[in-house]
Point group: C2
Chain length 383, copies 2
């Protein structure tokens, strides 16, 4: 049974996140910030604050002392959901790769870094903060890479279809199609929302894709080419750099027993401490800038919420029990699986134009819904 005081402690850990979000929301609604100014803050988060926070988290995590059982449960949950979705896509007429990626992201990619660490710490103490970091390592080292790869695969497929259509079309269309390709390529320099595009396009404008690539895209999308494109895209995401660098450093540091010099650690920290506040503020501005809270249909929104708050946690519970987790470890796994959707999932969906309206709804409604839902999970698990 959860005591009143520990319940209040959880509310204490969640409230600041919602206050920062509310501040962001109000700032846009009362026109204290222009969309371009919001984009500046979002860009700062994507380019500096988040990567440095991820680096600091991962580099200070002992990779030789990871909880393998916990990681296994997390991996089995994601792999099982992906396999089930792939099977459904193959068997059902309504199934498609786009839906597989969308439903997979909804079910398995919660907001671990920004919301998971403070909330789970408030619930189960500092032990759970360490577990969150282990999940973050896998997210950035594998799962987001996989998601970007699948998005790239779909983009290449679409490009192929466009090329085939172009064979019977006048020359003017060729240019349009090629432009379209470049647009896809120009995305995801950093995770960005709409308003942030300008800066990226500027950066990208200086380096158009080499002609060889455009020609290669004329052929069927080979797995090798798609891998190459995905790799190029992934290597441009600061958070991925940061997690790799952090991982490499953690392997060296914990083997050799060395620490990052204070002067470097403090220089990273001066920016990284701003990540949680600015990122949640940014989610608030994002909400206020959408024309509707539920931008997809209500039935699709319900499906999205069911994937996020029921399927994800249920499969996590099953896989945790399967590997023999129990007690707090089991509870931490389930509650973190029921956190709101990671904003980065919306960002990619938007960039590649694969169900962005569903992901937007997932972030907005999910963030509101998660306040009571997370607490209900916490109470139920404590019975």
């Amino acid at each position: 049974m959860i005591s009143k005081s520990s319940l209040y402690h959880v509310v204490e850990s969640m409230a600041p996140l919602y206050v920062a979000m509310g501040l962001g929301y109000a700032s846009v609604r009362f026109r204290a910030f222009t969309p371009e100014q919001c984009a500046g803050i979002n860009h700062f988060v994507a380019l500096f604050a988040m990567p440095l926070l991820i680096f600091r988290m991962i580099s200070s995590n002992d990779p030789y002392a990871m909880n393998l059982r916990f990681i296994a449960a997390d991996t089995i949950q994601k792999a099982a959901i992906l396999a089930a979705l792939a099977l459904w896509a193959r068997l059902s007429a309504r199934g498609s790769l786009a839906w597989v990626v969308t439903l997979f992201s909804l079910a398995t990619l919660p907001n671990t870094i920004i919301m998971g660490v403070p909330i789970l710490r408030g619930m189960y103490g500092s032990m759970s903060g360490t577990l969150m970091v282990q999940i973050v390592v896998l997210q950035f080292a594998f799962w987001y890479v996989l998601v970007v790869f699948l998005f790239e695969y779909m983009a290449a497929q679409r490009a192929l279809v466009a090329k085939q259509q172009q064979a019977a079309a006048p020359a003017a269309v060729v240019l349009t199609v090629l432009d379209g390709d470049q647009q896809i390529n120009a995305s995801a320099v950093v995770p960005v929302t709409e308003g942030d595009r300008n800066a990226d396009t500027n950066t990208e404008a200086a380096m158009p894709p080499p002609p060889a690539e455009a020609e290669a895209a004329m052929a069927a999308p080979s797995a090798k080419l798609i891998l190459l494109m995905a790799a190029k895209k992934i290597l441009k995401i600061p958070s991925i750099h940061a997690s790799m660098l952090g991982l490499v450093w953690s392997f060296i540091a914990y083997r050799e027993g060395i620490k990052l010099p204070t002067i470097i650690d403090d220089s990273v920290a001066i920016i990284s401490v701003s990540a949680t506040g600015l990122a949640t503020f940014s989610v608030g501005t994002f909400m206020a800038q959408q024309s509707r809270f539920i931008s997809c249909g209500c039935s699709v929104a319900s499906l999205a919420m069911a994937m996020r708050f029921l399927v994800g946690p249920a499969v996590m519970a099953a896989s945790s029990l399967a590997v023999g987790l129990h007690g707090d470890l089991l509870h931490v796994g389930i509650v973190q699986a029921a956190l709101p959707l990671a904003v980065i999932s919306f960002v990619y969906a938007k960039e590649y134009n694969v169900h962005p309206e569903i992901m937007s709804t997932g972030v907005i409604v999910g963030t509101f819904a998660s306040f009571p839902i997370t607490i209900i999970y916490y109470i139920l698990l404590g019975l």
Copy 2:
């Protein structure tokens, strides 16, 4: 004699500030951020991060345990310099109120909150952090209010001159002059740099000054009217609100022995922790956006540096000794007086167009110069 290790400790406390500044500078130079995006970050600092940091600092400072001697030394330093400048302005043909305000700001208003707290803590331990807060209380409760009052007085004087000229001018000019007045009134909603103006003007557009005010401005600028205008302006500065609120709360809390509930304190902290990193980042973007590092003449720049790094600390040393300070307290007072110029001083100078080029130079050159100068002061005082 300062040991090598404590000297390194000081460099450790300064380095992160310069790293964040360098990041801001590079971000603009490499076009990772547009001017409008920088304005967004600066606006966030002025509207939320700084006020909340100031509130948190002041509200957690015990007002019944202030070091009266230290405060007296700080007050005497500022009052003495102001008196000397006023005397010079009265006696010299080259003296003017504009120069009094400029030289006073240069000599007595260092960057206490953002740079003072971490650097002085690195030098003399947490005791000096508390002393910095006491200086901040007075800065916001009195000295910045005075500076804004003097700027308002000059603006009113200029408006009067314009009105007198207008008496003999065609009607079209009247409109221009009135517009000019409104422009001055529209300033300083929050401390802003140039790019930040749009948002402010938008906010302000909804509330034009009542006609009575415009008529009143036709008459000679009465002290009462100027006070009213200054009060209106000051009441629009979030940092002033925050410091007043923090002061009131600290008087209540430390008398009654109560504390701010954790849920409120954490909600303030989630934003306020970003202030130091974002504010120094913002100074870096400010530097990169200026066309020249030294935008006033070299001799004026030298005068500005002399006021900041020699006159200010020297008068502080004299006033500290006069009230009987010695040891670390004396050293803390002198070193904090030799910190770089507060960015807010530039912001006001820019808003009221009173020697903005000198203040810009004061911030930029002063920030670079202060790295060695602060350390030299520290070493000399430790001999």
